[in-house]
Amino acid sequence: MADAIDARDLVVSLGGRPVLHGVTLSARFGEVLAILGPNGAGKSTLLRTLAGLTAYTGTVLLEGTPLARLPADQRARSISFVPQQSPLDAALTVREVVALARYAHRGALGRTRADDARAVDEALAAADVHALADRHYGALSTGEQKRTLIARALCTGARTLLLDEPSGSLDIEHALRLFALLRTLAIEGRAIVLVLHQIEHALAFADRALLLREGTARALGPTVDVITAAHVRALYGVELVPGGAPGFRLPEGA
C-alpha cells in the first residue's frame, strides 16, 4: 500500500524568502508523525504545503497520486488540515461549522446526502463537542473552537489528518483526550501528521518524529531514536533532562 504522504525535495519560498530547502518525509497509515523544531523552522509552512495551500517545487504524492493532480473535492476527502486558528467569525452554530466538511461529499447540485447528519454527529461526539452543537462558533472559548475544527476535519472522512499545534489552546485534560483520540484514529488506520511544540507530547503520543531547523530536515525516524540529547541541543540549544519534567495522564477508565 502506498504511503499516506510521500514528499520529496520540497522547496518553498514565501514572499521571495526561502522557507523550506529540500525537505523529504513520508507519513504512513496507522502512525502518528510529529514535526518538531524551534520557532521559524518552517513547520507550519511544511504542513500547509502538504495540505496543498502553498506553491512548492519537488514532489508530493498523496496515496501514490501527485497532490497537484487531485481535484479539489477528491483531495478534501483524502486529506484534511486543522490550522492553529481559523478566521471563521460568523454566526454559524458548531453543527453548521462541522457540516461544512461534507461539501466534498455533496450530491448533484450541491445537495446534502443522507449519511451527512450521521457523519456530523459522529465527528461532534469524537471531538467531544456534541454538547456545544447548537452554540455559535464565535461565542466559544479558543479551546472549544479548536475542538470544533478537529471535529470538522474528522467529518471530512479523510484518511490523512494534518494538525498544526492541535493542543496549543487546550487545557491539559482536553489536550490528553485529543492525543488519545489521535492515537485511536491512527490505530484505526489513519495517518496523523502534527506540528508540536512540546517534545514530551511527541515522546508520549507520536510514533515517529521529523526534526526541522531553518527549513531543513535534521532527522526523521522513530521518536525514541530521534529525540536524543544531541538532537535537542542542536535543534533548540537546550539540554534534555531525562525524567525531569512532571508527566500527566488521564485517570483510569476516562
Binding site: R48, G52, A72, A76, L100
Partner: protein
C-alpha cells in the same frame, strides 16, 4: 426563532407591503372606471420595485460572501456606481446611435442593461484585482470608495454632457436618481428573470459561500474550487446589480443594510440568508416606493433618495448596536 419562521414572517410582510402598494397613490381607487387600470399599473410598478430590491439585496449577500466582509455591498464597493455610469453612457449612446444599433441587430432596449452589466463587471474586476494585493478590510473599503467616487465623477461628466439636449438630460438625471416611476411590462420582463435566476443561483452557491466564511485557504482544504467559485460569484453579483440598476437606477444602501440586518435574525448560513435577503430586500424597496408616493410633495420623491434616507441611519444604528463592531466581521 428558527430561520424558517423568519422567512415566513418576511413573506407575510412582503404581501402586506404589496397590498399597501396597491392602495397607495394620488388617484382614487373608488373611481370604478379607473380601478382595474390603476391596480394594474400599481401592481406592475410594485413588482418591479420588489424584484429590484430582491436583486440588490441578494447581490449584497454575494458581495459580502465574495469579499468575506459584512461591509461589502454593490454600492459600497463601487459596483452600483460602475453600472450606473455605464448605464448613463448607454442612454447617451442609445440616443446618438439608435439607428446604428438597430442596424447591427442589437435591440435598443437591451443597450441600457448591457451597459450596466459591463459597468458592474468591470468595476468588480478592478476591485478584485486591488483586493488580491491588499486583503485588509480598510484598504478594500477605501478602494471601493475611491472606485465609487471615480465612477460617480465619470457619471456626472456624462450627465453634464447630456444637458446639451433637454430631453436626454432629463432621462439621464431620472436614471441617476433611481426610480421605478412608469415601470411597465418591459421592465418586469427584464428584472424578473434576472432576480429569480440570480436568487436561485445564489441558493445553489450557498454552501460554497458558507465555506468561504472560513477564508479561502480553509474553503480550499474542504474541497471548494475557490477560483471557479470566485468567478461565478462575481458574475452573479454583477448580473443582479446590473439588472437592478437598469430598471431602478441608483438605489443606495439596499445591498448593504438588508443582508446585514437579516444576518442577525436568520444567522450567517446562506441557505437561509439568501431567501431572507430576497424577501427582505423586495419588501424594503417596495415599502420605500410606497413611501415615495405617500409623501406630500409637489413631485414624487425619487426612490433612490428614500432608500438612502432610510438605509443610511438604519445601517448606522446596526453598527452601533453591534457588540463586536462591524469592522471585525
Amino acid at each position: 426563532m428558527r430561520p424558517s419562521l423568519w422567512l415566513l414572517l418576511l413573506g407575510l410582510a412582503s404581501l402586506l407591503v404589496f397590498a399597501l402598494n396597491l392602495a397607495a397613490g394620488a388617484s382614487d381607487l373608488r373611481d370604478a372606471a379607473l380601478t382595474s387600470t390603476l391596480l394594474g399599473l400599481r401592481a406592475t410598478r410594485g413588482l418591479v420595485a420588489y424584484l429590484t430590491g430582491a436583486a440588490l439585496a441578494v447581490a449584497g449577500v454575494l458581495a459580502q460572501g465574495l469579499f468575506r466582509n459584512p461591509l461589502a455591498s454593490p454600492d459600497v464597493l463601487g459596483t452600483t456606481a460602475g453600472a450606473s455610469f455605464a448605464g448613463k453612457l448607454s442612454i447617451v449612446l442609445l440616443e446618438a446611435s439608435l439607428a446604428d444599433a438597430a442596424a447591427r441587430g442589437i435591440a435598443p432596449e437591451l443597450l441600457l442593461p448591457l451597459g450596466c452589466l459591463v459597468g458592474a463587471l468591470g468595476s468588480l474586476l478592478i476591485l478584485l484585482a486591488l483586493a488580491r494585493r491588499a486583503r485588509d478590510t480598510v484598504v478594500l473599503l477605501l478602494s471601493g470608495f475611491l472606485l465609487s467616487s471615480l465612477f460617480l465623477s465619470l457619471g456626472s461628466l456624462v450627465t453634464s454632457l447630456a444637458q446639451e439636449r433637454w430631453e436626454l438630460g432629463r432621462a439621464v438625471i431620472a436614471f441617476a436618481l433611481g426610480s421605478v416611476t412608469g415601470a411597465g411590462p418591459r421592465q418586469v420582463a427584464l428584472i424578473a428573470p434576472i432576480a429569480l435566476v440570480g436568487t436561485l443561483a445564489a441558493l445553489l452557491w450557498s454552501r460554497p459561500l458558507d465555506l468561504l466564511l472560513s477564508g479561502e485557504d480553509e474553503a480550499r482544504v474542504l474541497g471548494l474550487d475557490v477560483t471557479r467559485a470566485r468567478r461565478w460569484l462575481i458574475a452573479w453579483t454583477a448580473l443582479l446589480t446590473a439588472g437592478a440598476v437598469a430598471v431602478g437606477g441608483n438605489l443606495g444602501f439596499v445591498g448593504l443594510v438588508v443582508p446585514h440586518g437579516l444576518r442577525r435574525l436568520v444567522g450567517a448560513s446562506h441557505r437561509a440568508l439568501v431567501p431572507a435577503a430576497a424577501l427582505g430586500g423586495g419588501a424594503f424597496v417596495l415599502a420605500c416606493d410606497v413611501l415615495a408616493r405617500a409623501l406630500p410633495a409637489r413631485t414624487e420623491v425619487p426612490l433612490g433618495v428614500i432608500t438612502g434616507l432610510i438605509g443610511a441611519p438604519l445601517f448606522l444604528l446596526l453598527i452601533y448596536r453591534s457588540r463586536r463592531g462591524v469592522l471585525h466581521g
